[in-house]
Symmetry: C2
Subunit: 474 residues, 2 copies
């Protein structure tokens, strides 16, 4: 059953997206242009993301800290590329209380500056290294066009900033954290993302190189969701982060940073959801099961309570919908909110010693005998749903992944439907810009250790260096 | 053994405080005036505070959200008292990217404005009520004098904002959340705080009344740590938060807000710590036990690992210090960081089938037989430490709590040592201001349902209305 508040995905994808955001009560607009209020349903997903990622970061030896929100202008300016990259889109604080400030502050668009300044005064010897810090916080970028979760002026994220004794160790960290983002997308979000190197044009301002995690949305547009940067000694030279090495000589540290944001919530929606609303993979769903009593008789309610207890004891999150709404209304609400499994408990079902399970992802209904071990049954079903959702997204991604040998083929693909377009590239900025003329195509990432398709650049026909995935982007 | 980096608490309390903050690596100064970097040791305490409070909030039906950091000036101005109270100390964003903004934004000093604006567009009927929202975030107040954790321009906090159908329900919420803060201080932080009503002069700008949680520091100065405000319909009228009530008539909601901040970390230090550094009550300590191998022989390391596993399986947090530092250095480090229990494992001890426990709070050493159930022994010891720390703080609080019948007695107390001074008050602002002339004494709170001491105001001698606790404040 289609949700009346939601435009069909096939009719107007952009409208469908915002309709789902609002219908599932994930976020709403506010009186602040370009800034959203993340509502309870949306924030619960973010909390779950934080819980899983934070645990993984800590297992890998990272610790959390909190640096200031404000960055003094002179400090920001120390690394030229960074300030060039971000200055056009920062917000400036020029007044504190009733006084004009002598030096203005920008609200952090990212915190390389503050971490570098901190590290410069806190590291002395190789014995202090590595320092593996992360922070969960808000950042602000003065975007012109905004969309809930995908691009908003303020957003929430985590930013890891680490410093190391050697190039090798820092590069290993850069790659390790990209693996974490990939794992998180594939295993937890059920999103078969691809990873690779950003081109010079697309890399982070100030990085030696940037690794990126790119997810393909249902409509064939890419979403950059997670980047990991290797800085080499660029920031450590700009901010003077020196340490005494094992030969007792002063050297500059090797540095990385890596981050993911609330935009992953947007990615979840655009990969998995449908015209009935949100569909959440079980591993990221704040509540995995809703139990709905059909008529609230004592017997039914008691059974609901029993089921809830049994599931919770086995680590499954669930709730009973005890509100006064009609059963139909409750079904629709659980549906639009993306609860992976709905369990109905009715008088007649109980007489037949059974209850009804419904999968959110496929709408499949199943009568389940009360003689079953419900915890095991539910766990297995959650696993199946998680896996099926991944496979479905993978099939979609593969259907929307194309290969092109020349510009004609690129144009032909873009005239039917967008997606990931694999094509060889010579490495020249001019050719990258030519691709952009085709409906705004950008390089998503360079695939590493990949075999070239033709060996010739898809644009200029000269010798190619890289196999690149091209696509439209959010 | 005194820590060389720490000034004695009896010699210079203020210096001792910042020395402990830096020696225990809780926070450090940054290039941003009045803003600190919260370092791993400090942030881990905040995470533990968040974990415990967040669980309690959720048990009581609250959900987390995230409102924007920026507040448009016209929106802020809607509630006159709020803007009067906060306008002198907010930071203003006047420029976004390269453009001067048409309307400036302030960085939130608190979020009544944004929550009220949100609620106004999201509540329609009594069926939507109550809405019990909370957010964990950063706020900014342009303070002139700052001190790490106690008063800094930017700080982290939680702010609960709730709306209700009736006055009774909102008032119940206001009191309930103050009980949560009191519970948290007494049971978790081992701080015997007192609670009561703020006077008209000291209450939150825009509140009908404010309940406060006041903790007494080792030096007799009070720290306000947690407030809960009842707004009645003040904000709902200013922001037009209307709902259809059970009689289907439009009415304004009844509102509350309540918050606690990272300043509680400052309170923890100033109540429990000593000249050797931080002392943490076991229930808030991120790591409760450190295991130190004396010489890293295979046998010793194996035993350390066994102990760690046994403790962790029983829900005790611990780590083994495997660094290359000397045992003495490790002891000092565990001490300055406030780890509640240190366990030493040495070759000779193992031959005698025993290990050594040392309490951080009392420095007491205990040989413990390996025949003991170590998990139970440790659990009991952690309980004893928690309780002893509370009793010690309670004794100190009681020793520093005085009663005064007239101004002479107030002055006499303040000439020896400050503390909580109980004295009757007529309720007149003039008398409150007269008290302030005595070394800056302020009303901390009105004790509710308390018997008056003399029945006469300690200042003017006229009939008293309230028993008030007076004190100096951070």
């Amino acid at each position: 059953m289609k949700n009346e508040k939601i435009t069909s995905r096939e009719v107007d994808f952009a409208k469908w997206y915002t309709d789902v955001v609002f219908a599932a009560k994930l976020a709403s607009y506010t009186g602040v242009k370009g800034c959203i209020a993340i509502e309870p349903n949306g924030y619960a997903i973010w909390e779950k993301m934080q819980e899983i990622l934070d645990k993984k970061f800590k297992e890998l030896g990272h610790v959390n800290v909190q640096m200031p929100l404000l960055i003094p202008e002179n400090l920001l300016k120390k690394e030229g590329e960074l300030v060039e990259g971000f200055a056009p889109e920062v917000a400036w604080v020029t007044k504190g209380g009733s006084k004009e400030l002598e030096e203005r502050y920008c609200i952090r668009p990212t915190s390389e500056t503050m971490f570098s300044d901190y590290y410069a005064t806190h590291v002395r010897s190789y014995k202090d290294l590595p320092m593996l810090y992360n922070q969960w916080c808000n950042v602000l970028r003065w975007e012109k066009e905004t969309r809930p979760f995908l691009r908003s002026r303020e957003f929430l994220w985590q930013e890891g900033h680490t410093i190391h004794e050697t190039k090798e160790e820092a590069e290993k960290e850069t790659r390790q954290m990209m693996e974490v983002y990939k794992w998180f997308h594939h295993e937890i979000l059920a999103i078969p993302s691809i990873t690779g190197l950003k081109t010079e044009k697309e890399k982070f301002a100030g990085a030696e190189y940037t690794l990126t995690n790119e997810a393909l949305m249902y409509n064939g547009v890419s979403l950059q969701a997670g980047t990991s940067h290797y800085f080499g000694q660029k920031f450590s030279k700009a901010y003077d982060i020196k340490f005494a090495n094992r030969e007792n000589k002063l050297d500059y540290v090797y540095q990385t940073s890596w981050g993911t944001t609330t935009r992953m919530i947007g990615g979840l929606i655009m990969v998995h959801s449908d015209d009935k609303g949100l569909v959440l993979p079980p591993r990221i769903a704040p509540k995995q099961v809703v139990i709905i009593p059909i008529f609230k008789t004592e017997k039914v309610l008691q059974k609901c309570e029993e089921i809830k207890q049994e599931l919770e004891e086995n680590g499954i999150t669930c709730y009973i919908d005890l509100t006064d709404k009609s059963a139909g209304f409750k079904f629709a609400e659980a549906e639009v909110n993306g609860i992976p499994i709905r369990i109905e408990v009715g008088e007649r079902d109980l007489e037949n010693k059974e209850i009804t399970f419904t999968r959110r992802d496929t709408s499949l209904k199943m009568k389940v005998s009360l003689n079953e071990n419900l915890a095991i049954y539910t766990k297995n079903l959650l696993k199946t749903i998680q896996n099926d959702m991944y496979q479905k997204a993978l099939k979609r991604r593969d259907e929307l992944t194309f290969e092109a040998k020349n510009l004609e083929e690129v144009k032909k693909i873009m005239n039917t439907k967008p997606g990931f377009i694999k094509a060889d590239w010579c490495g020249d900025l001019g050719c990258e810009m030519k691709m952009k003329e085709i409906k705004g195509l950008k390089s998503r990432c360079i695939l590493e250790n990949a075999k070239l398709l033709t060996g010739k650049c898809v644009v200029c026909g000269k010798d190619a260096k890289y196999l690149v995935v091209w696509g439209l982007q959010y």
